[in-house]
Amino acid sequence: MKSGSVIKPFVLSLIVMPIAFAIVLAAGGRATADRFTDSVFAVMVLMEMVILWRATEARKLFSPTDAGHLTWSLIVGFLFVRLLGECRLLTLTFGLVDAKALESATAIRFFYVVALRYLYTLSDVFFIGALINTVRSYKGTGLKFELVSRDYVYIALVWIIPIVTYFNRANLGLASLTGADSYIPVYRLVAVFVGAIIATMCVAIRRYALQMGGGAVSRVWTSVVIAGIARDASFLALALLSSRWPSGAKFAEQWLLWTFAGCWLIAALRQQEVLPRVPAREYAPA
């Protein structure tokens, strides 16, 4: 699998998916449109399994003493914990575990439905670790990688997302793949703030990638940056649309998460294509 063979179908899917959603909504109504969104989610979980596999392959390009090894280990940790969270959400979305009537739920079911959603937050902590290590790696080269004044404007804009979400927090529990519950707004507020930290670091890494002046490494990190920002924007879409158009909010969230997943797949593939010509182990140092 090459990144070039993934990019075109992925971009096409980003265009086709909203059109398909609009057609399903017009033809079948809200319930059918929600089932369409659930199907997109199920396909995305499959894609996340592939991403985890490709990220594991990317990690193998680095020896344990390399800075990149820690970065990609943290990325693999992030993707693995996230995938666990996604599998949980899959069971709730398709009714394998009842996500409703939490007040009368057993402790185990309550833990499964409410507490385990923080797997996503845990995964984000791994991602933040990976981004911090990447920033340190760039700075550690001694070359000139630094933010410019425009980046601070972008960072300020990024922090508008959690602030707007906070002021619209009443909407955060209105739409969800599994139906609303009274605990989800707190999780989403935590997630959007953690997401803003991620997006802030992504802005910095995007600048460093730009300062590289192109090249294969820069393309890897550009994909990661788009993924990070799409994830954070998914919460903003939920906060802004949920009260007015719950089905649209669910779909917009899923579409942005699809963007997130696709960019991660491209990033993992691109990392393996940085030096495409011969297997790296042939040049393993003595």
């Binding site: 990149g68 090249g215 294969a216 490494v217 790296a280």
Partner: protein, 82 residues
């Protein structure tokens, strides 16, 4: 004013690291080796390639860095043969 060798190294590294990083990195290591970029010749390449390995490893891993360093050293051998 840069030497042909300088251009060749930058051209080799640009698809991987980008033009700016390739140029900055080369300038950085030329300064470390206490020479100007226009003085760079094929004879310097093995030492230069070896010195660059740790920084290349940041982005490419040790194995990838070793490979690119070997390719850079070979650029020097190719130039010497001509």
């Amino acid at each position: 004013m840069h030497s042909e060798m300088h251009k060749e190294i930058v051209d080799h590294l640009t698809p991987i690291l980008g033009e700016a990083t390739a140029s900055n990195m080369l300038r950085h290591y030329c300064a470390k080796m206490q020479m100007r970029a226009d003085e760079l010749s094929a004879g310097h390449l093995p030492q230069l390639a070896d010195a660059m390995k740790p920084m290349l490893a940041v982005w490419l891993g040790s194995a990838g860095a070793a490979r690119v360093a070997q390719e850079l050293a070979q650029l020097g051998r190719g130039a010497a043969a001509q």
